[in-house]
């Protein structure tokens, strides 16, 4: 490329600092959101991998099984048989008051079996010999990381109050672990290390282990597996980790897709600003073409400028993304902890790959968005570069072709959505394609809407007629601004309607399923976490006057032959639910419960979708009495976990598993008794045990708090949408004004007052905003339907019932028109500065 040409463009860009800034900002904003989400996802994934690496160590296999651990004789027998590379583990979770109340992973180990497996407690190097002696000999002795101790002001000798199940227990810090490697030390922050005997004591698992780590060859592993007692199994260590990390895959992918949507919306901004700068330079480009610069060279000039500004914007976006990532990681981690598994992410892990991805994505988006305006500038014959009417003619001529392409894209998008199965990335690709197809219809619908506006507003005078006609005549400018605003607002409508529908579905579901008056659980009960309560508490509660019925729940993780680990909820004394919670079932629900008591199971909808099972199928579960077949008699709606779970009668569960513990219970108050009084009486009866008593209302509210927290991140989309709305219209108005300088000068010369010109600008802008708002409603509803019936069903497996939210439509119109009117202010100020004589001289 010729240096002088590049100088021409670059200096020109520097003469327009606001426009340059706008373009850089558009790229930066989009890149920042993508990078923030990517960093948050990567940090969470990396934190999980690291904790797995640290916890699993060099183990190749693990012996696991039993809902409530298994007998430690299994380990003894293994050693007696001469297999030395084995380490017994008792693992559980505890809330630690002195560590800010956070949930910590407690790992009970046998110090002498450890060395081949894990290296983070090596005497003398990172833990003192005295500390190790106390660790081994003193009951309740614990090691925590030096960083945690420093953060929470703890020292060796201090006590930790641990919340385990319904009990509070104490452990004493006997030493601090120091890790030279900074990454691993982060993992140690979420860990409390104790001797195996102390852990057994803490978790009431005397004589039991939760797993045995092994370093074994495949031949050895096969031999060990063959000799294992019923109910125990040997798994590859990596397999366990993979299963857990897959839990969050759909959640993280959805988040990424939303961030890409933000980038796509940002691309409209880039398009607008590049288009605006092309319009501003139309005359200069015309001169260049006349003196012999080829169309290809003009195209390359604009593209290289976009690449340069895209690069600067991306670099700023990376910085912003890292800052934003620190906020996002907290939201992502919270959701993972709420819905999936316990994870400690103390900091954003700035991954070079995430940054590189963000950088390339930013530059690529800038180039993609700039390509059309660059092409527009280069493809027009040189003699007519200075005449925009030619461009408008060409755009008009292109409309039928654009509509055909739009129809094809919508068709392809719909086909992907229908046949895309559960590949969420592909499904989002389908949404993008279909959305782009819809966008191509904006010009033709705008013409139609403006005709209506001319027919109705035209009665109010010349200015009203002029405004609606300008929008139509400058279609190449106005339709893009309308399209970008429409997409931004449609995304907000789509996401808002989806969330509102989801929320109302969950509310209805909670109302249908939470029938008891209050619920008693252990403090740390949460998704996919097995907690245990003393069964004796049930009898204490049952003895309270006014308690009519109690429904006991045991919630554990068991293994299915084809399905892998799964959540099993076993209930006793179940009160028959309403028939409508069972998918496609209109009969008497008590019939289903009768079959459950006879040994059948019911599965949740996500489970049925994920594992492709239905009523009439059979599920094989690995019980303590070996593999057993359970017929499925119903599929019920459930929104507590996208991994799904199965429902079994407690008696049936206890028949096949050696586990008499319970996880919680719900209480039904007899008629004529005051629920609050009975609840208080039960609290008194259970005093001394650390349990959480939650009323029906409180439990529903808590569930909805988690729900709202999960979707908090989508709020960012609204902010971006409003920014896009504003900037899109602003740049379109500015381009229009620039192109019509002579026309505006003529109007002023002919006697139009400044106030009348302002009114004209406001009307043009308002009409564009209104058109975008009106178009956004159907497109937003289509988007909501896709999110509800395709994305959620395929990626999470649950049915959401569509809820209409009328106020969203009013809001959409309000935001569109409001943003458009606000955007008109600066062009109006510029109008005040219009020099009529100069304007009339404009070519």
């Amino acid at each position: 490329m010729h240096l002088t040409l590049f100088k021409t463009i670059l200096r020109d860009q520097l003469h327009r600092p606001w426009l340059t800034l706008l373009l850089i900002l558009s790229v930066a904003l989009g890149v920042a959101v993508v990078v923030a989400v990517d960093l948050a996802n990567a940090s969470a994934t990396r934190a999980f991998q690291l904790s797995t690496e640290v916890i699993v160590g060099k183990a190749t296999h693990q012996i696991v099984g039993g809902a409530n651990g298994f007998d430690d004789s299994v380990y003894r027998n293994l050693r007696l048989q001469g297999f030395r590379n084995a380490a017994p583990i008792v693992e559980g979770y505890a809330g630690a008051q002195e560590l800010g109340g956070q949930t910590m992973r407690v790992l009970g180990i046998d110090l002498f079996a450890e060395p081949p497996f894990r290296t983070y407690i090596t005497a003398g190097t990172n833990v003192s010999v005295d500390a190790l002696t106390a660790f081994y000999t003193q009951p309740g002795a614990a090691l925590i990381s030096a960083e945690s101790a420093e953060r929470w002001g703890l020292e060796t000798g201090d006590y930790l109050t641990l919340q385990i199940g319904t009990h509070e227990k104490r452990a004493q810090i006997v030493g601090l672990m120091r890790q030279p490697n900074q990454v691993s030390s982060r993992v140690l922050e979420g860990l409390i290390l104790t001797d195996i005997a102390s852990a057994q004591e803490l978790f009431d698992l005397n004589g039991k282990l939760t797993r045995i780590d092994l370093i074994a060859t495949d031949a050895q592993a096969n031999e060990i597996a063959a000799a294992l007692p019923e109910g125990l199994r040997l798994v590859r260590a990596s397999e366990q980790a993979d299963t857990v990390s897959q839990l969050t895959a759909a959640f993280q992918l959805n988040l990424t897709a939303f961030s890409l949507l933000a980038l796509a919306v940002g691309m409209f901004l880039i398009y607008n600003t590049v288009m605006f700068s092309v319009v501003q330079r139309r005359r200069m480009l015309g001169i260049l073409r006349c003196v012999g610069v080829t169309g290809r060279e003009i195209f390359l000039l604009i593209m290289s400028e976009a690449a340069l500004l895209g690069l600067i914007g991306s670099l700023i976006g990376l910085g912003l993304g890292i800052l934003l990532g620190r906020l996002t990681v907290a939201l992502v981690t919270q959701t993972i902890n709420d819905l999936y598994f316990t994870l400690t992410v103390s900091d954003v892990n700035v991954d070079a790959l995430s940054l590189l991805k963000g950088l390339l994505l930013g530059i690529f988006s800038a180039l993609l968005a700039a390509a059309l305006p660059a092409f527009e500038a280069s493809a027009v014959p040189a003699a007519t570069v200075l005449q925009r009417s030619d461009l408008e003619d060409r755009i008009r001529g292109l409309l039928p072709r654009l509509n055909i392409i739009g129809a094809v894209l919508i068709f392809i998008g719909a086909a992907i959505l229908i046949f895309g199965q559960s590949n969420v990335a592909l499904l989002f690709g389908g949404i993008f394609i279909a959305l782009f197809g819809l966008v191509l219809y904006v010009p033709v619908v705008t013409i139609f809407l403006m005709r209506i506006a001319t027919a109705t507003l035209g009665r109010f005078g010349l200015i009203a007629r002029m405004a609606s006609r300008t929008v139509t005549q400058a279609l190449s400018r106005t339709s893009v601004a309308i399209a970008s605003l429409m997409v931004a607002v449609a995304v907000v409508i789509g996401v808002t309607v989806m969330i509102a529908s989801f929320r109302s579905t969950v509310e209805n579901w909670l109302a249908q399923t939470l029938n008891a008056d209050f619920y008693i659980t252990a403090p740390l009960a949460g998704a996919n976490r097995v907690v245990t309560m003393d069964p004796a508490l049930v009898d204490k509660a049952r003895a309270v006057e006014g308690v009519q019925n109690i429904e006991v729940l045991r919630s554990v993780t068991v293994r299915g032959l084809e399905t892998g680990d799964l959540r099993l909820n076993a209930t006793e004394g179940g009160v028959a639910r309403e028939a409508r919670i069972f998918r496609g079932y209109n009969g008497d629900p008590s019939k289903i419960y009768e079959q459950l008591n006879a040994g059948a199971i019911a599965v949740t909808e996500p489970f049925a979708n994920k594992h492709r099972v239905a009523e009439g199928d059979t599920l094989t579960l690995l019980t303590d009495k070996g593999a057993q077949n359970f017929p499925i008699v119903g599929v019920y709606y459930d929104y507590s976990s996208d991994q799904g779970s199965i429902l079994m009668a407690l008696d049936v569960y206890r028949n096949f598993w050696n586990d008499n513990a319970i996880s919680g219970f719900s209480v039904y108050v007899a008629p004529n008794y005051d629920v609050n009084q009975v609840e208080d009486a039960v609290r008194v009866a259970l005093s001394g045990n650390d349990v959480v008593v939650q009323s029906n209302r409180a439990l529903r509210d808590a569930a909805l708090v988690i729900f709202d927290r999960t979707f908090a991140i989508t709020q960012a989309l609204r902010v971006i949408a409003v920014a896009v709305a504003f900037i899109g219209i602003l740049s379109a108005l500015m381009a229009l004004q620039l192109e019509r300088t002579r026309e505006l000068g003529t109007l002023r010369a002919a006697g139009m007052t400044l106030r009348q010109l302002w009114r004209l600008t406001l009307l043009e802008s308002g009409l564009m905003g209104a058109a975008a708002g009106i178009l956004a409603i159907p497109v937003g509803l289509i988007l909501a339907a896709i999110l509800i019936y395709v994305i959620n069903l395929r990626s999470f497996g649950w049915t959401i019932f569509f809820t209409s939210v009328p106020e969203v439509y009013a809001q959409a119109l309000f935001v569109s028109i409001g943003a458009a009117l606000l955007a008109a202010i600066y062009p109006m100020v510029r109008l005040s500065r219009l020099q009529v004589v100069e304007a009339l001289r404009e070519e």
């Binding site: 002088t4 021409t8 020109d12 260049l288 003196v291 012999g292 169309g295 290809r296 014959p381 003699a383």
Partner: protein
């Protein structure tokens, strides 16, 4: 002197039956109707006519900025009507210099850079381009203002830069569209003198569109346009042109 096949000897530019129409909605507007003309190398030809007579369209076709609906335009042996847009542009950057009514300098380039640009586009060596630009800066009297941006120049100065730019790549053909139309009479006369003098000194073919009969009088030959057709050439110019052709000047 005409050759046996009817073509002028030493003919440099040849319009053959040029027709240009524009579509306006469903209507077709004929702007040029079967124009035939020849221009010799080194000739100064003025194209005159009323507004809308088709003179600017003819100039645009000659510059390769647009293509005729029918007919051929030969510059030397090359029929530029048959070239695609890219090839016409590449031809233009090497062989045609343009002077506009509204100067059309690049606002972000200095005086020197504006002049250099055409030589640079034509692929000149940097040192040659700079030497050529310096010579032209001297010729148009703007040596002192080389680093000034166009918005700091008067109209006359801007047009002088535009003339230097048109000549910098040593194009054989200089096209001028109302080059004095945006200047006062005195400055206009000065600019015209500068342009014609430089063109003659460097033996350039100069084709100028103008409304001014005074300017037309200075041309070797005048082509008059009326309703998209070329009327008979005016005698004075023709004689001068023919005389120059015959003597081989």
């Amino acid at each position: 002197m005409a050759t046996p096949n009817g073509k002028r000897a030493n003919s440099f530019i040849r319009f053959e039956n040029i027709t240009k129409t524009f579509r306006e909605g469903d209507q077709e507007r004929v702007v040029l109707q079967g124009v035939n003309a020849e221009i010799a190398r080194g000739e100064f030809v003025a194209i005159v006519g009323r507004s809308g007579s088709g003179k600017s369209t003819l100039l645009n076709l000659l510059a390769g900025l647009d293509t005729p609906t029918r007919g051929d335009i030969f510059i030397g042996d090359l029929n530029i009507a048959k070239l695609n847009d890219n090839d016409r542009t590449l031809f233009r950057r090497k062989h045609i210099g343009f002077v506009f009514q509204f100067f059309n300098l690049i606002p972000t380039l200095t005086v020197r850079e504006n002049i250099l640009m055409t030589a640079e586009l034509a692929g000149w060596k940097e040192s040659d381009a700079h030497a050529q630009a310096n010579r032209l800066l001297d010729a148009v009297g703007l040596r002192e203002r080389v680093n000034v941006f166009p918005d700091k120049l008067s109209g006359g100065e801007q047009q002088r830069v535009a003339i230097a730019r048109a000549l910098c790549a040593d194009a054989e053909l200089i096209l001028a569209d109302e080059p004095t139309g945006n200047l006062d009479a005195e400055t206009g006369a000065h600019i015209l003198k500068l342009l014609t003098t430089l063109a003659r000194e460097k033996n350039k073919t100069l084709v100028m569109v103008t409304h001014s009969s005074e300017i037309a009088e200075q041309a070797d030959r005048v082509l008059r346009m009326e309703d998209g057709k070329l009327t008979r050439p005016e005698t004075g110019g023709l004689e001068t042109g023919e005389r120059r052709l015959e003597t081989g000047d």
